[in-house]
Amino acid sequence: MNSYLNKNRPPVYCPGCTHEKITNSLDRAFDRLNLSADKTVIVTDIGCSGLFDTFFNVHALHGVHGRALTYASGLKLADPELNVIVTMGDGGLGIGGAHVLASCRRNLDLTLIILNNFNFGMTGGQYSATTPTDAVVGSQFLNQAEIPLDICAIAQSAGATYIDRCSGLDADLPEKIAGAVKHKGFSIIETLGMCTGRYTKKNRLTPKVLDQMIIDSPERCGIIEENQRPEYGERYRALAKERNTFPEAVAIEKKITLKEYQRQEVVILGSAGMRIVTAGDIVCYAGLYAGMNVSMKNDYNITVLRGQSVSEILISPEKIGYTGIESPTVVLALSDEGVQRRKKMFATLKPDTFVLKEKSVTIPETRADVVEIDFRELKIKKQDWALASLGVMAKKENAINKTMLKHALKSRFSEKVYQVAMETIEKTTQA
């Protein structure tokens, strides 16, 4: 037999510990599969099962508690040729439960060997997620108030495509491990074992009892028919392959030369659904076509379909430093919610600030130059008010002009949407 065991580092388990048997079975499984050592990695968790990687002459990664499956997944995604074997105790199972569930759902081609010995061996025999309620463990009475979980049942409901369970002393274990490794997809093999250092000192657990436990629990022996589906890595790569257009960065060449353009600060006060952010984008594009520097900050509710939507834009011939609004030159007041969000601002507006207010919107007292517009009468839908307001700004040459706006709309929208947008804007120029 071709052994993968590291002769210089023999197992160091307590006498009678099932982990040693499993170590040898894993070695035999490798031999049976004739795995190439340089394409095999053992990823280990924490605890006594976390020593596995040190006994083998294959690649090894030993990481922090409960997270072994996460490293294993990263390795396998990065190098699909790798045979990735994870060893984890019932401790890692409890602490890293989310990763076990995710691995079952995902079906990436990894093999998880769970070394369930019903307690935390290394730290003093405390109870784990698999400790029987009536066991005597190092956590006094705490396990008596909880029930153990059946990871195989959980894995099945989480979509695992291959589940096996047996005694760690099972003579067929090498065959069973080999079957799990061979399976294309995520495979779990739960081994039940004896922690002679801790657990079996106070609990009657013998090879026979282990066999009986396997007989008494629901049978799992490999392929789970109902969960069969493509392996994740292959599926991922097939889906990703269809994405073949790299999104190039927006870049806008100056097309318009303006005489004496002063820094503009534009505030658009609206609500969700009014396409405030799009309008803000268009104002920025307009500025960029005139060779200006621009910046835009948006403020909207985390519940995206409700509440205020505010866009704050700076357009400046100089480089923009501070991106906050200090002295607005244009304010579009398009909804009460939006206005409320910046209500303190109105008292500070200068007399030459251009405020465009929709008829239905109420604004606080201000010295600014307020122009009211009735978009409803113009038969402009609410979702187009912000866009229509840009038409008014351009017509009055506040911050942007018509040429700038046309360039901006053309590059931001498709030809069809551009035509519709222009129609909306035309309605305001007639008003």
């Binding site: 040190t54 990481g63 996460t70 990263g74 392959k241 870049a251 806008i252 621009v294």
Partner: protein, 371 residues
């Protein structure tokens, strides 16, 4: 010249791509989500991999695994996610796993405010791991910096085999702005140094350098471990071996601090005040200095783009001619004590603000003028 127009987050993602990043794993969190979105748009067409982890801890685990297989990896999160990353960050620091972590900071503590900015995590990034090994933290002030610093971050991660943080801020990450992407000053790409000798010991290195790398899955067997290890990657309890490794981990970063120093300055010969700041705050500081200049008061500014390791020599050199130093931060004073430690014979004034909004130039002028 065409100007690009994008969020700081998109710029950071583009910088990562420019650096050769080919793996991303992350978990959505405001205000960092758009880095994930951008990577998801950009990596697949380039043959890269972009994954959403089941949580932040897993995302970091995927990054660690992929990095050990030889990928150049990026992840992105904000304060609550950095908290969850922390156990994996310790692993990556101690076991010399190259990766870049973008922390788009938001107002803490804890859940805090998802859409309010603050430089909340400056100390946490430095000390949020077990052992206190130095880390590298870069800090952008705008979208252009996000783009450029992403490349520096990958270069440092590869050279020093360590996690490198980009401490961005909601006010940069989610603010769209114009900048000249085409002529951005990108440094040449640094690739991971691969081992080329006969017998590979995964952690054998020069006293103040990172060990040469070989990937898991290559012809030579590689061991990686989160446990205290010797050069061979096996557990050790030998105090000498442990001490040597601890010293090396510290020195490979600390001794390279001059190389890792990134900054911008506007030093005026006729001013006696130097304002030191970083991040989005630096923009308001520079605005304030410009306005004061017009008013006839000359102020010099130093904008730090690398916070850790502390650019000690830079601080000493730049602060030397000044009578007064003012430190301004978008928190209640996370970095000022480093400045005080280095410039121990200087009078140092501080202003910090932690209220969910940026410090305005007006406020900064007030601080400067009320000397």
């Amino acid at each position: 010249m065409a100007l690009s127009f994008m969020e700081g987050n998109e710029a950071l993602a583009r910088g990562a791509i420019a650096a050769g990043c080919n793996f991303f794993a992350g978990y959505p969190i405001t205000p960092a989500t758009t880095i994930f979105n951008s990577m998801l748009e950009m990596l697949p067409p380039q043959g890269g991999i972009c994954i959403q982890g089941e949580d932040e801890i897993a995302s970091m685990g995927y990054c660690i695994g992929a990095s050990m297989a030889g990928k150049k990896v990026l992840t992105a999160t904000s304060g609550p996610g950095i908290s969850l990353y922390s156990e994996q960050i310790s692993f990556a620091i101690g076991s010399e796993i190259p990766l870049v972590i973008a922390d788009v900071q938001r107002l803490g503590p804890s859940t805090g405010s998802a859409t309010r900015g603050a430089d909340s995590d400056i100390q946490f990034l430095r000390w949020g791991s077990t052992s206190g090994v130095p880390v590298i933290v870069l800090v952008p002030k705008d979208a252009l910096d996000c783009y450029v610093l992403a490349v520096h971050a990958f270069n440092y991660a590869e050279e020093f085999r360590c996690p490198v943080f980009i401490a961005s801020n909601k006010e940069i990450g989610m603010t769209k702005e114009s900048f000249d992407l085409e002529s951005a000053p990108l440094p040449p790409i640094v690739e991971r140094k691969l081992f080329s000798g006969d017998t590979y010991l995964p952690f054998e290195a020069k006293p103040d350098a990172a060990p040469p790398f070989l990937p898991i899955g290559g012809k030579t067997l590689v061991r990686q471990t989160s446990s205290t290890h010797g050069p061979d990657g096996y557990i050790t309890i030998d105090p000498e071996v442990i001490a040597k490794n601890q010293d090396r981990l510290r020195e490979k970063i600390y001794n390279a601090r001059k190389k890792i120093t990134l900054f911008e300055e506007d030093i005026k010969g006729n001013s006696d005040t130097l304002v030191i700041s970083y991040g989005v705050t630096a923009r308001a500081v520079e605005d304030a200095a410009r306005i004061l200049e017009i008013k006839g008061k000359s102020i010099s500014t130093l904008t730090l783009k690398s916070l850790w390791p502390v650019p000690e020599e830079l601080l000493l050199e730049k602060a030397k001619p000044f009578k007064q130093i003012i430190v301004i931060e978008m928190n209640l004073g996370q970095y000022v004590n480093e400045v005080k430690r280095v410039l121990c014979d200087k009078k140092i004034k501080f202003y910090g603000q932690m209220n969910g909004v940026m410090i305005s130039p007006e406020k900064i002028m007030e601080v400067i003028e009320n000397e």
